[in-house]
Symmetry: C2
Subunit: 188 residues, 2 copies
């Protein structure tokens, strides 16, 4: 094992980002959450907080990509349903406390480096989803457009549902997107 401590810290940071934003994802919070030793901070992350946050973004990106890849072979409608279900679970299981760590960093950072990481994650998600949607029956042009919309709408729906502490807005968006992709699948 290279370092379980480092991994725990990155996972903790990702979780704190999703729940409380970049502000409250401090070293102290990460240490308290993970039980990692304080002396490890600058051993594992010599360039400080930016490096920890960048790693957390990458982790969150990879995790979602892994879930997306499991959808390979599914119809476009199924890909849509399962992608949304993934986010719905984040809301439900956290009692509206959690959202997307990548979004949290994007709106709160002024570091070009972190923005690059966030950008890479969003592009990766969009590209991979577009592939799956195309494989699942959508026309190429529809696939990229709908992939962008699926990501944007789910990110936004998660935020609105967190504010309202209710799944109602999220579920309205889900209905709309599923109905939309059904239409797109039919004409392909």
């Amino acid at each position: 094992m290279v370092s379980g401590t480092r991994v725990k810290m990155v996972e903790g940071a990702a979780r704190l980002l999703a729940q409380h934003g970049l502000q409250e994802t401090s070293f102290s919070e990460v240490l308290e959450l993970t039980g990692a030793p304080r002396g490890s901070i600058y051993h594992h992350f010599p360039s400080g907080k930016d490096q920890l946050i960048a790693s957390a973004i990458d982790l969150a990106g990879d995790r979602a990509i892994r879930l997306i890849d499991e959808m390979a072979g599914a119809s476009a409608v199924d890909v849509t349903t399962r992608f949304l279900e993934m986010w719905r679970l984040v809301l439900a299981k956290s009692n509206f406390q959690a959202g997307c760590s990548v979004l949290a960093v994007t709106i709160a950072t002024d570091s070009a480096n972190l923005l690059d990481h966030a950008s890479a994650v969003f592009r990766l998600w969009r590209g991979r989803l577009a592939e799956l949607l195309q494989d699942g029956g959508l026309l190429p042009a529809d696939a990229i457009r709908f992939a962008a919309t699926l990501i944007a709408a789910s990110e936004g729906a998660v935020v609105v549902s967190r504010a309202e502490q209710s799944l109602e807005p999220f579920d309205l968006v889900t209905e709309q997107l599923v109905s939309l992709v059904e239409g797109l699948a039919k004409r392909a």
Copy 2:
């Protein structure tokens, strides 16, 4: 004039929220941006930062509602186009520095009070948009579903475009939503 200083501070806070998130919307930043006197803080906002931020959310909510109300009488497609254009301008004019202040607070606060203000704003936007969309030709059930989607997707698209420093994702989402509402208008 009751107090120009108070107004300036709330406007400054709203702007800082949109650009840098809740974290960097500190009293010092607000004072520096607005030129307001430091001694005014707890005179105008006796309950401190929460009160300032709550006022900023309300202001942002009101401003958008005023723009939405100007769309009264337009077709559903026009309402959609103009709502999206509003957000596109935020991105373009700020060179991808600005987003939505309400979203910024939602994901970063742990105050139930601020969450209530954010929730009220999102509900108000959704309700008013749904009215206009219905007046503009959509079926009632479609109107509420599409209003929720329009808000969620534009909020999310703004974030993704900020991360990527490009209007590409936002414009893909716009194409998709306009095409969608055209379909909904036709069947109504």
